[in-house]
């Protein structure tokens, strides 16, 4: 269980901002600014954060759908960032992605059969008959019927489309699935169906998930460990129960307290953060959170705290937990 499937070290992605008539680079958006984590085989790592915190960019960088600026990604013992385009394509057979929008991520002109078969064609798996047989199997696996194969995406509901997206990701028998907000577009009753499906598939095929979402209760439900991102950095990462029971970073605390709980008798003390998230093109000096942090100290304004282990397996980037304090 403790074998690492994926390890990311100091991953950075800066997007250039171009301006002027000459299109010179006038600035950078630091979408990911030094993120390190690992995922063990068979586990689910959740990544949470608000919009613009870089969680989706992180997910896409792992597959090199977005080319990272700096840092190393080791997947299954191989260094991903130095692979050539052809090798990378091969590598993606083991890393698949499920997208947020089930309406935009399926080709409306293709039948479901074609959509699910396509990754197998790309990776030259099996004969045409074998592939078609597998498509039908996959449809059953994700809770659809094999007769759905001849239909088009628009004939399905949102939840069913997300199942098709999952079947497509499973087609090439990947080891890692990166799910980027897979249930955000779905209604509550459908969301729970898809979450249960993802859990069943994990048990059946021993899959590893990177689960990216903004909904904290969903992430807590599905993840073994959870990382919290803020403005391109990981601020806290630990086991999911620990994070929710004993959040260390002030941002995590505020984030958790902000979630409305579906229980009218549940009273919680809410930490309401003032202001908005600063722009990643001009992040504040020092700790990125100090502008909104209720516990900010002088040091927070000048020194960006390191992301380090405070308790066993509990990582946090905050000066409140400095050794010498």
């Amino acid at each position: 269980m403790t074998e690492k499937l994926l390890e990311v070290q100091d991953l950075k992605k800066y997007f250039p901002i171009k301006g002027g008539i000459l299109g010179r680079q006038v600035g950078q958006v630091k979408a990911i600014n030094g993120v390190s984590f690992y995922i063990n085989k068979g586990e689910t790592l959740g990544l949470v954060g608000e919009s613009g915190c870089g969680k989706s960019t992180t997910g896409r960088s792992l597959l090199r759908l977005i080319e990272p600026t700096e840092g190393t990604i080791t997947f299954d013992g191989k260094e991903v960032t130095s692979l050539s385009g052809r090798e990378m394509r091969k590598m993606r057979r083991d890393m698949q992605m499920v997208f947020q929008d089930p309406f935009a991520s399926l080709n409306p002109r293709h039948t479901v059969e074609r959509i699910i078969e396509e990754p197998m064609i790309v990776h030259k798996m099996g004969t045409s008959a074998e592939r078609k047989k597998r498509v039908r199997e996959l449809l059953e696996v994700v809770g659809l019927n094999s007769y759905h194969a001849k239909r088009y995406a628009h004939q399905f509901s949102g939840g069913q489309r997300q199942r098709i997206g999952i079947a497509r990701a499973l087609a090439v028998k990947p080891k890692l699935i990166i799910a980027d907000e897979p249930v955000s577009a779905l209604d509550v009753s459908i969301q729970s169906q898809v979450l249960n499906l993802l859990e069943d598939l994990q048990n059946e095929f021993n899959l590893t998930y990177l689960f990216i979402a903004h909904d904290l209760s969903v992430v807590k439900h599905i993840s073994d460990r959870v990382g919290v991102m803020y403005l391109g950095q990981l601020v806290e990462l630990t086991e999911s129960d620990k994070l929710y029971a004993n959040p260390k970073h002030p941002y995590t605390r505020a984030l958790l307290s902000a979630v409305p709980i579906a229980d009218p008798e549940f009273e919680q003390e809410r930490i309401v953060l003032r202001g908005d998230v600063p722009s990643p093109s001009n992040p504040p000096k020092g700790c990125p959170f100090h502008t909104r942090c209720p516990e900010a100290m002088d040091i927070c304004k000048s020194v960006n705290p390191a992301f380090r282990e405070d308790d066993e397996g509990h990582y946090v980037a905050c000066h409140l937990y400095d050794e010498d304090k």
Binding site: E50, D187, V188, S192, K220, H221, A262, V272
Partner: protein, 324 residues
């Protein structure tokens, strides 16, 4: 119970499309008391937004039309009100805020322009006085540097600030009822917390009644005193927040509450309601939830249940399990 300010009786809003008549809202009854927060919950396509648009007289016609029922606002039936009269009521007495703050603000006018327009439409004030009011109201909704803000354009603001501007605009004429249609759905949780706090303040300090439409059960539990649960164009259950969350009676409400992942307890397998929402109108006879209901029996398919009181203290449910 307080004095009722808005009462909806047997409201039917249908859409006439090429595929036939679609009953998006099918005989809906509810009321909003003075100064209370009523939550309307439901999944997409349950008719909750169309209900609120009907109250505002904003259902696009064609294809939509209110084909039956009454909307009584202070002894006046809004269904029969003229467009001129509706204009007076809208904004002045009943105001509305929408889900997407970017698309509800005009990008080519400044914040001040849009606010002052709304204020002067309802009050015969000069520009100076209206501008002063605009600044005052922006401060009320907690926006910093209100004096400068009124000369800025919507794109210069963040999502949370835009939603505050929308609320400011809605509150500009001190309405008695505020209809908020998914006001925080497009916002991040920390910003959502700010907006919910603001709406609570307005409700408490100014006594504005709020009709809050949302799919988020957490938001409902936190904000509302009473809740109506909608499914496929019908209200299936209505009661106080405590009744709905602690003693839900309708199998749909029960399922919906069980489907929400719980952050406070240990990880277990989630309950899920099988199947998906039917198109409104696809079920002509019987309970609209029957095809997905695990308790469904013969009567559920042959006869449509009415929303009737069940058990104690005003909890209403439309389900044959609870009626004779």
């Amino acid at each position: 119970m307080g004095e009722t300010i808005l009462e909806v009786k047997g409201l039917q809003t249908h859409f006439f499309t090429d595929d036939g008549e679609i009953p998006a809202v099918n005989k809906v009854d509810f009321h909003v008391d003075k100064g209370e927060v009523l939550g309307i919950v439901g999944e997409s396509g349950s008719g909750k937004s169309v209900t609120s648009l009907s109250v505002m007289g904003l259902v696009p016609k064609p294809p939509g039309k209110i084909v039956g029922g009454e909307i009584n606002f202070k002894d006046e039936n809004l269904v029969n009100a003229s467009e001129k009269r509706m204009r007076q009521i809208r904004g002045n007495e009943i105001a509305m805020i929408f889900q997407e703050p970017m698309t509800s603000l005009n990008p080519v006018f400044t914040i001040g322009n849009q606010l002052i327009e709304a204020i002067r439409l309802h009050n015969k004030w000069d520009k100076k006085k209206a501008k002063a009011r605009a600044v005052e109201i922006l401060k009320l909704v907690g926006l910093p540097r209100a004096e400068e803000l009124i000369d800025e354009y919507p794109h210069q603001l963040s999502g949370g600030m835009r939603q505050r501007v929308m609320i400011a605009m809605a509150m500009a004429c001190d309405p008695e009822v505020l209809i908020a249609d998914e006001p925080t759905t497009a916002l991040d949780v920390t910003i959502q917390a700010q907006i919910l706090e603001l709406m609570k303040d307005l409700n408490k300090n100014r006594g504005t009644a709020i009709m809050l439409i949302t799919h988020d059960l957490g938001v409902v539990a936190e904000m509302c005193q009473r809740v109506a649960v909608m499914y496929s164009g019908n209200i299936v259950e209505e009661g106080t927040v405590k009744q709905i969350f602690k003693e839900p009676k309708h199998p749909y409400t029960v399922g919906l509450i069980k489907s929400v992942p719980d952050m406070t307890s240990k990880r277990e397998r989630l309950y899920s309601i099988p199947g998906s929402v039917q198109k409104p109108g696809s079920i002509k006879v019987g309970c609209p939830f029957a095809p997905r209901c695990e308790h469904a029996f013969d009567r559920c398919v042959s006869e449509t249940p009415a929303l009737l009181e069940a058990g104690d203290e005003g909890q209403k449910v439309s389900c044959w399990l609870h009626h004779d």
